[in-house]
């Protein structure tokens, strides 16, 4: 049941469903990232629930965040957004000034509520900023290998391509790794993620080659650098990204090509995964089965349909992996080009 912002305005009495709002926001705007959708959902929540004290608001936020995280199969991206929102609220309240403890709590509330659109716009602008920082990486005659459907990478590559014909024309090639497992059921043609970017780049005159994931090691010799996007950037500077990124990182390291990550700084998330299987996500990529298990499971599937307590499982085509920081040459973010170890500092700055 989708609760759009219009319907919430009319039916105030109906309880606010943050999960549905979040999903709806993500669906309605393909350019929206998960952290921003989460922030937006929280803003809508605050508009909906009149709370006048600070602790009431924080409590409400904590509860809704926990609920949201539990109901979404991959909460890494969104927890970056909810954390950022919560920390912003707390830090602003502690700081002296108009919005501080001496000031009016209502002022900060109105600021947050009235500027929902602004946050989205800024988030999109940050991609522009990244593109400006990252422009220097793409030089004449180089070949970039990339994967996935990251919007930040797409905007970076398109920005570089846009300048073709201009005073600083960059002629570069792109090798696009297309995932074989991602079957976009809702998509018009069931084409793999990233085809849209491939078409856009080709339309701009950038030669693009698409390869399957199995050809990465073969193709990497022809590439000068790897640029990937990320769903979340974790505390040690590693990234959580589309399945297949980790192996590209390992291969790039082995072949000695720089591996750059493009991510907005609102994707930094306070998480310290120790390895691939340490992510707070329920995904069954490696699953051992016998003939007997398969028969058993199909029988079980009919009897038990929904179990509310069971954590939501991430479908295989959305599965992610973790790329540790030692494989990453640099992170191109809207606050500059950072080394992986700079991420923890950015996070520490907002948490402590």
């Amino acid at each position: 049941m989708a609760t759009t912002s219009e319907s919430t305005a009319t039916a105030v009495a109906k309880p606010f469903d943050i999960v549905a709002t979040y999903n709806e926001l993500l669906r309605s705007d393909p350019d929206l990232t998960m952290p921003i959708a989460a922030i937006e959902a929280l803003v809508l929540l605050l508009t909906h629930e009149p709370s006048s004290t600070i602790s009431e608001t924080l409590d409400l936020l904590a509860k809704s965040t926990a609920h949201l995280k539990k109901s979404i199969p991959n909460p890494i991206g969104l927890s970056a957004g909810t954390d950022l929102f919560q920390r912003y609220l707390i830090t602003t309240l502690q700081r002296p000034g108009q919005l501080g403890p001496a000031g009016d709590f209502k002022a900060i509330r109105t600021h947050l509520l009235s500027n929902g659109r602004l946050f989205i716009r800024r988030a999109k602008e940050s991609r522009e900023k990244i593109a400006a920082f990252g422009r220097g990486f793409i030089r004449d005659g180089c070949t970039v290998l990339t994967n996935g459907g990251s919007r930040a990478v797409a905007s970076l590559l398109q920005k570089a391509a846009d300048e073709e014909g201009g005073p600083s024309a960059v002629r570069f090639n792109v090798i696009y790794v297309l995932s074989s497992i991602s079957k976009d059921i809702e998509g018009p043609s069931g084409e793999p993620e990233g085809m849209e970017t491939v078409r856009a780049l080709r339309a701009k005159g950038v030669p693009v080659s698409t390869i399957p994931e199995s050809a990465v090691a073969y193709a990497l010799g022809k590439a000068d650098m790897v640029i990937v996007g990320a769903e979340g950037v974790v505390e040690n500077g590693g990234i959580v990204s589309r399945m297949g990124t980790y192996q590209i990182g390992i291969l790039a390291k082995a072949i000695g090509k720089p591996f750059y990550v493009v991510a907005e700084s609102h994707k930094f998330v306070r998480l310290y995964p120790l390895g691939q299987y340490d992510l707070p996500i329920e995904q069954h990529v490696v699953e051992f089965k016998t003939e007997e298990d398969i028969a058993h499971k199909s029988a079980q599937q009919k009897s038990v349909e929904s179990d509310a307590d069971r954590p939501v499982e991430l479908p295989l085509e959305d599965s992610v992996d973790f790329t540790p920081p030692h494989l990453i040459s640099a992170l191109i973010t809207d606050s500059g080009v950072l080394t992986p170890s700079a991420v923890s500092e950015e996070l520490i700055k907002i948490w402590f």
Partner: protein
């Protein structure tokens, strides 16, 4: 300008001498051409010349507004950097001066703001009210000293991550008033602006002092890193490295292997070892009264840098000087350094780089090739062999780019840092808005 400049060979010494008498514009021209002709080389000489020139520029700039001052310094800085883009220290010094001006301007604005606020609030004259307004400010001043890029009580968002959610106004408002309306809207009264310039001049003098002391400060860490009976390998004749080794030599006995770098640096290396100084402008800035290492009873072995790999298995530690250090932890140093660093990696020998903070550049090396300067090819193959020169292509690269993963430790005048930590020092020393100006 010519009369004074003619008396000396053009270089740092003549430039500094002429700076006092020449008009500003001539001095700028002078430095630009010196940089272009490579008559001022070496990171420190370039940094010193730049700092002194900016000192003159700022003191001669009779403006009351910090924005104008920034503009003036920027325009001078751009010309200097365009003259010799590979001398990154020039840009570093310009950026630090710009940062100084911005800091002073903001401190001033803050102080004014705090004053006006304290004035209005402390009317009941209770100490309580005073505390309220001054304490947070003090705390912020501290954090401002410590964290460079972060600013001011009056601007609501501190960190870059918060900038997403912050108030709309203060984003691009460096020259304008801070977000909260300060009661007296104008930026500076004339009396205060004069103060800003004095503060900036003082700051530049501090930078100049830093340039003078940096080697001694770095050398103070020597005993932590060089132990008795160790075999240390170094490359070329970096003064910073020499002082570092000399400091340790005063207390401990060890062996130094010096790899000479033919053809650009071998003469200087020989001179350093034997203690006879070459007659270039280095004499002015570095005290050449120092005894060479051998006088301290240190065993010194001189090898060509082609023999580095063979000897590396016996070496305990590699200590390198550098031309400039880049924001990603990599460095640009004299040709041959990368071979040494790579050989050290293969033998798992620790590589320590000694470098003043002034060499640390906020520039990210997008294109490594563009950082490398090519020098006089006749040093490799003299022009007497003319017919051979016709047939082959002779190149003499002066610098090498060494990637961060080959370096284990940087020792700056602030202490020892891992290469991955350098970004932090960069953000402490340079303002984000000055990185590309």
């Amino acid at each position: 300008m010519p009369s004074t400049a003619l008396a000396l060979t053009p270089g740092l010494a003549s430039f500094l001498k002429s700076l006092k008498t020449n008009p500003i514009d001539t001095s700028i021209e002078n430095l630009v051409s010196l940089l272009k002709r490579r008559q001022i080389r070496h990171s420190r000489s370039c940094a010193t010349a730049t700092a002194y020139l900016l000192l003159r520029v700022v003191s001669a700039c009779r403006t009351s507004e910090s924005a104008k001052l920034i503009e003036r310094v920027q325009s001078v800085g751009r010309r200097l950097m365009a003259a010799q883009p590979r001398e990154m220290v020039v840009g570093n010094i310009v950026r630090r001066v710009l940062g100084l001006i911005r800091d002073e301007a903001e401190d001033d604005r803050e102080a004014e703001f705090a004053l006006s606020e304290a004035g209005s609030e402390s009317q009941p004259q209770t100490p309580r009210a005073f505390d309220d307004s001054s304490l947070p400010l003090d705390r912020d001043m501290l954090s401002l000293r410590g964290e460079g890029a972060e600013r001011s009580t009056s601007r609501p968002p501190l960190t870059s991550m918060f900038s997403l959610l912050s108030h709309p106004e203060p984003e691009h408002s460096l020259p304008s008033t801070p977000g909260t309306q300060s009661p007296n809207g104008r930026l500076f009264s004339p009396g205060q602006s004069k103060d800003v310039r004095a503060e900036v001049l003082e700051g530049i003098n501090e930078i100049i002092d830093e340039l003078g002391q940096v080697d001694d400060q770095i050398a103070a860490y020597a005993l932590d890193h060089i132990h008795s009976n160790e075999i240390i390998l170094t490359h070329t004749s970096s003064t910073t490295v020499q002082k570092f080794l000399l400091k340790a030599a005063a207390k401990r006995k060890f062996t130094v292997i010096i790899a000479e770098s033919f053809p650009n640096n071998h003469e200087a290396t020989h001179a350093t070892i034997s203690g006879t100084s070459l007659g270039d402008d280095e004499n002015l800035t570095f005290d050449s009264f120092q005894k060479p290492l051998i006088a301290h009873g240190i065993t010194v072995i001189l090898i060509p840098d082609s023999a580095v790999f063979a000897l590396m298995s016996r070496v305990n530690k590699v200590i390198l000087g550098t031309h400039s250090v880049l924001a990603n932890g990599g460095l640009v140093a004299s040709a041959g350094t990368r071979v040494i660093a790579r050989a050290a990696k293969v033998h798992q020998t620790p590589v320590v780089v000694v470098s003043g903070v002034y060499k640390l550049s906020p520039v990210y090396p997008f294109d490594f090739d563009s950082l490398i300067e090519y020098g006089d090819a006749s040093k490799v193959l003299p022009y007497e062999d003319g017919d051979l020169v016709d047939k082959i292509d002779v190149q003499n690269p002066i610098y090498d780019y060494v990637p961060a993963e080959l370096i284990d430790l940087y020792i700056t005048n602030l202490g020892g840092h891992a290469p991955s930590y350098l970004y932090r020092i960069v953000s402490d020393h340079y303002r984000k808005e000055d990185i590309s100006f």
